[in-house]
Amino acid sequence: MSADIAHELHERKDHELARRAVRARLVTGIGPATMLAGLVWVLVQPWRLTLLHPHGQGFWWLLAEPPLYVVLVGLVFRLVVAPGLVEDLEEGR
């Protein structure tokens, strides 16, 4: 009987570990997926990036680079938020 319980507990633990691994992978993927979306946007609409044709552009037009903002948001999330979250998920093991 106790062997059955131990086996069940072991299975539950394995299941929980697998769930946490999936969560860690998802969290790690958010940043790169966002960066990829920004890069695809640059390829689809290169005219939205005035840095590619900066001549004659004013200050605000050179500052406003929406596809780069998307890449930057993904990068900051990947470098600042994701590592701690993955660490905390693993510590929960």
């Binding site: 969560r23 998802l26 969290v27 958010i30 940043g31 966002t34 005219w47 004013g58 605000w60 500052l63 406003a64 929406p66 903002y69 998307v70 948001v73 993904g74 999330f77 938020v81 994701a82 701690g84 979250l85 905390d88 998920l89 510590e91 929960g92």
Partner: protein, 199 residues
């Protein structure tokens, strides 16, 4: 009235707010994935989402002051700023542990409702006047309908569907805001009164 060459164009302001909303969306997705216990394991992380929301509310004030095309614009932007600050402030109170009720999440539902109404009220043109008009209508109705998600979160705080719906709504809002152009066509339609068209 925008002072030519000094103030950024309205479309740029939309893109900057889109970036703030995108940050909110990524944080909301991450919290949904890892769960509130892991998310709250580091105190600074609890303040990210409400802090960003509160900051967006503060940044709406210069928009109200500098982009006052009409009385209705000023009222819309002003009430919008207040709603975002109330929601951000309430969520900050919850994160700090000063506020305890799960129903404080209703302030986020209120923020979406006020934001949606503000979009719809201050857009005076029809859907197909131009891209900006279309997006204002689309954003307004999206926000109004999506307010059901934070409302559901207030009732069932651990609902994955409500949390995912809220995070997805934020992504949709960011995408729509990034699509905004001051004078561009929408589905081949562009009013002769909408200025000089660009892509």
């Amino acid at each position: 009235m925008i002072v030519a060459g000094i103030e950024p164009r309205a479309e740029m302001v939309h893109w900057w707010f889109a970036t703030g909303i995108l940050v909110l969306a990524l944080l909301a997705f991450a919290e949904t994935i890892v769960g509130p216990e892991v998310w709250g394991a580091r105190p600074w992380r609890r303040y990210l989402w409400p802090g960003m929301l509160f900051l967006l509310g503060i940044l709406m004030w210069p928009v109200m002051a500098l982009y006052t095309n009409s009385m209705i614009h000023m009222v819309a932007h002003g009430s919008w700023a207040q709603a975002l600050m109330v929601a951000g402030g309430a969520e900050l109170g919850v994160a700090r542990g000063k506020l305890h009720s799960q129903y404080w999440r209703l302030t986020s539902a209120g923020a979406l409702l006020v934001s949606g109404a503000a979009f719809l009220v201050h857009e005076q043109n029809g859907w197909l006047f131009g891209r900006a008009a279309f997006l204002h209508h689309a954003l307004g109705w999206t926000l109004l309908v999506a307010s059901v998600f934070p409302f559901a979160q207030a009732i069932r705080p651990r609902s994955i569907v409500a949390a995912s719906g809220f995070a997805t709504t934020l992504v949709v809002i960011a995408v729509l805001l990034y699509c905004d152009r001051d004078s561009a066509a929408i589905f081949g339609h562009f009013s002769q009164f909408a200025g000089v068209m660009h892509r």
